[in-house]
Amino acid sequence: MKFSVTKVDFVGRWRTWAKISGAAMLVSIVALVALGLNLSIDFVGGSSFVIDEVTTGASEQDLREAAEGAGATDVTAQLTGGEDGNPGAIIRMGALEPGSDELVTVRDAIVEAAGPVELTENFVGPTWGEQVSRKAIEALVVFLIVVVIYITIRLELKMAGVAVVALVHDLVITVGIYALLRFTVSPATIIALLTILGYSLYDTVVVFDRVKEVSEQVGEPGRRTMAQVTNVAMNDVLWRSINTSLTSLAPVGALLFLGGRLLGASTLEDLALALFVGMALGTYSSLFVAGPGFALWKMTEPEQIKLAERAVDLGEEEAVTGALPDAAVVEARAPITTEYVRGRGRKSRRRR
């Protein structure tokens, strides 16, 4: 038997994590309801022009008036970092159908006002964003069903249930952060959200895989109940989780940092932002939501209750909550399962 390097009581202190997560989710939901999401033109429909260089020195006001004067509605103009000392600009407006005369008029007015070196044009129909979202939600539902089935087969049903809870937790908070910080939600954000699902589950599956492995030792000293088993497993994989999330966040962070400096590369930036937030949350929820959640749920099973009672009889009250006693304390305890006899514990202790 080996003893974890770290001894964080993930399960026993579940109330603390529940408070943190609960508060974060509450804030997210309130923010979402009160503030709503800042949807990009991809969801509401609209046209936009991106100008690499405004050579005429026109101000945001000038650009907006030029577009409005040509018949555009709901115009917003924004100067951005440009090239060669000239600012760039993004001008957004209500939808102007490609090929329509209205579009041509507005385009000409903007070209005249800004004197762009290069003009990039975008149009999104009013139903496109809705279609993307609907498709994404369809994909999400199918994905969740597949994953629940897979985890149930590969691990167990309760793990699947908790994994989905952790996932919802990540999604709600990510969306909440978007609402709170007024980040723009674009179809790329939706892609990223879907990836977060994959990543969050990937992480949860890795943790649960270890829980399942260690659960073969349930009943042994220091692993009297599933609560303790879960704690042991999560401490085992703690460094892996930290290292993985850091190595995963590094490239995404690079993308976020660099993508944000690039005019118009909003796809990259949108993706990176949601991924960054989601991956960080995914790691957190695997350890602090999925793990404790599973242990608590598992502890309601009659068998676990019996194990816990037995542990209490042995004077090991901590087994009920899952807290991990010091290694020395554990070593002094007698094994109470036959598995221990053929187990690795004695061998390893000898070696050590």
Partner: protein
């Protein structure tokens, strides 16, 4: 596994990497998506008209794509990509700039309109008259064109002989080159009956396939335009008489011109019917003819369409009997796709009744014939599409912006790799070096795969780059899982050699479980989602599979081999994380 098989795995991996290196060294580069190379990218959503009935949407979409492709070809784009994306049509026109935007928008969005119109005159390129008639698309005054309509038993073609997609079932070419009795008198050779020079659809008896240029050329040359016409900026009215071009034949010749009449037919009971695509119920290619060996298109019209068709073909058959061409033009998007002539079995005054007709196609070989029949059937069905194209997105990307995106993506990827490499080296020392080699192999193979996929049409997009960058993290995780397990096992007291074996087994199992979830996400996203999501999902999926392979073939072999050397001993493994362990541990540890 034995030592030998580890070495074999390593060799295989290195050979693959070297092969890709050579491949890339020879100049192969990924096929960049539109957002990376610049151009126009648009998504159009077909909206079915109310009249659409039990039509197979998939079919309709396929035909819509064909129509758009044909239209885009006229823009002269190098490599247009018109493809289906879910229930939408994705149009990608690389290399087109802002100046082409308007034209592209107009040309893609218009609704396909198919009409049947009687051919009044046919003017192949190269004839003296070719430049003397108005340009294609010009609407002309019918009385100019038909100065003396005396030859027509029935009223002026303008109103009456609207259309006659008529069958020329058997291969006997009725028509002989004739001269129209119009104002062109004796100058313009009328359509070689059966022959319509556009290769797409020679809807006429095979044998007569005599290419058009200059059939019965009359010496008279006229310098002044034969008649005037005007190109209007509106769709061709149904009842207009106009000069239209044959569909492009890509042979390098100018397309032939046709003077065609109105598509509006007056039935005996005075009702007027426009003989257009909406009356087509179906058009399918099939084997027909006397011997059952010639390809033809079976055309099925609805009730009113069939009645109008009978009227038109009756008139055209009369014209044929008078020595005129008696052709019926099939006009799609203001281009004459085909102009079949009347078969001798069609009687003047009777026409083709019952709303069913066959159009025999030309072609030297059976394959050509089949292709032409298919094309013509497609044209006919397309004309019947109850569909309107609504733009969903329209985006122009400047080439400089695209190049900047590529640079940023590559740079972000490299920066990410470097950061990960530094971190892993600090944490895992020699094992970290193995992890970095895995990442480098991942990078090279991924780049190679993207390039190879480019050969078969896959285009790397920004979203795809993001997918790859995400996968860097997943690949690093495989190594981390593996190394952490080695550490655990060594801590349990195993020898390094045993520890590596056991660690690989359990790490691989865990890795497979996690990657299955990621792969499921990628596959489901790829098939269910739309828009840029798919490129992202594809890259993520490919990278996930690659990750599993690299862990199996490379990481495992290398770690196993160095497991017995001084590079990887109990001490070096245990030293891992020493800085962090100290202080946080009381009992355990190594």
């Amino acid at each position: 596994m034995k030592r030998g098989s580890y070495i074999a795995s390593i060799v295989v991996t290195l050979v693959v990497v070297a092969g890709i290196g050579v491949y890339l060294g020879l100049g192969a580069r990924p096929n960049l998506g539109l957002d990376l190379q610049g151009g126009i990218s648009a998504i159009y959503s077909p909206v079915l008209d109310d009249t659409a009935e039990n039509a197979d949407f998939s079919d309709i979409l396929g035909q819509t794509i064909e129509v758009i492709r044909a239209r885009v070809d006229s823009l002269g784009v190098a490599e247009p990509d018109i493809s289906r994306q879910g229930n939408d049509v994705l149009v990608q026109l690389p290399g087109l700039g802002q100046e082409d935007v308007e034209r592209a928008q107009e040309i893609i969005g218009q609704t396909a309109k198919l009409t049947f119109r009687p051919v009044i005159a046919f003017i192949p390129a190269g004839t003296a008259q070719y430049d003397l008639v108005p340009e294609c698309g010009a609407i002309v005054d019918p009385s100019d064109v038909l100065g003396t309509p005396t030859d027509f038993p029935d009223p002026v073609p303008t109103t009456a002989p609207t259309d006659g997609v008529s069958p020329a079932p058997t291969g006997d070419a009725s028509p002989t080159p004739t001269v129209e009795a119009s104002r062109f008198g004796g100058v313009i050779p009328l359509a070689q009956a059966t022959e319509s020079p556009s290769p797409t659809d020679t809807a006429s008896p095979g044998p007569v396939e005599s290419p058009s240029p200059g059939p019965s050329e009359s010496p008279t040359t006229v310098d002044t335009p034969l008649f005037e016409g005007e190109v209007l900026d509106v769709p061709l009215p149904d009842d207009a008489t106009a000069v239209l071009c044959g569909a492009d034949d890509d042979l390098g010749f100018d397309p032939p011109k046709y003077v065609v009449g109105s598509a509006v037919v007056t039935l005996p009971d005075e009702t007027e019917i426009t003989l257009d695509g909406s009356h087509i119920e179906d058009a399918i290619p099939r084997l027909g003819g006397a011997a059952g060996q010639a390809w033809e298109v079976a055309l099925d019209l609805d009730g009113p369409g069939g009645d109008a068709f009978a009227v038109v073909t009756a008139q055209l058959a009369c014209q044929r009997d008078q020595g005129l061409s008696g052709q019926l033009a099939i006009v799609l998007d203001e281009k004459v796709q085909s102009a079949p002539s009347m078969n001798p079995t069609i009687l003047c005054g009777t026409g083709i009744t019952g709303g069913q007709a066959q159009i025999t196609v030309g072609g030297q070989t059976a394959d050509e014939s089949l292709a032409e029949a298919r094309d013509l059937a497609l044209v006919l069905r397309t004309g019947a599409l109850p569909v309107t194209l609504v733009p969903s997105t329209f985006e122009t990307v400047s080439p400089t912006l695209g190049a900047a995106s590529v640079r940023t993506g590559l740079f972000a990827g490299l920066l990410g790799l470097v950061l990960v490499a530094i971190y892993l080296t600090y944490f895992y020392r020699w094992l970290g070096a193995v992890a970095i080699s895995s990442l480098m192999i991942f990078g090279v193979v991924m780049f190679g795969l993207i390039t190879v996929m480019g050969e078969v049409g896959f285009a790397l997009t920004l979203a795809g780059i993001a997918g790859v960058i995400v996968a860097i993290g997943i690949t690093a995780d495989s190594s981390i899982l593996f190394f952490e397990r080695i550490r655990d096992e060594v801590q349990l007291g195993k020898t390094v050699r045993t520890a590596v074996q056991r660690a690989f087994k359990s790490a691989f199992r865990t890795n497979l479980a996690g990657n299955t979830v990621t792969l499921a996400a990628a596959i489901i996203l790829y098939f269910l989602a739309i828009g840029p999501v798919r490129g992202f999902a594809l890259m993520l999926g490919v990278a996930t599979v690659l990750d599993i392979l690299i862990l199996w073939l490379w990481s495992r072999s290398v770690v196993s081999l160095i497991g017995n050397t001084r590079l990887l001993t109990r001490e070096t493994v245990s030293r891992v994380e020493a800085p962090i362990r100290r202080g946080s541990t009381s009992g355990g540890g190594a």
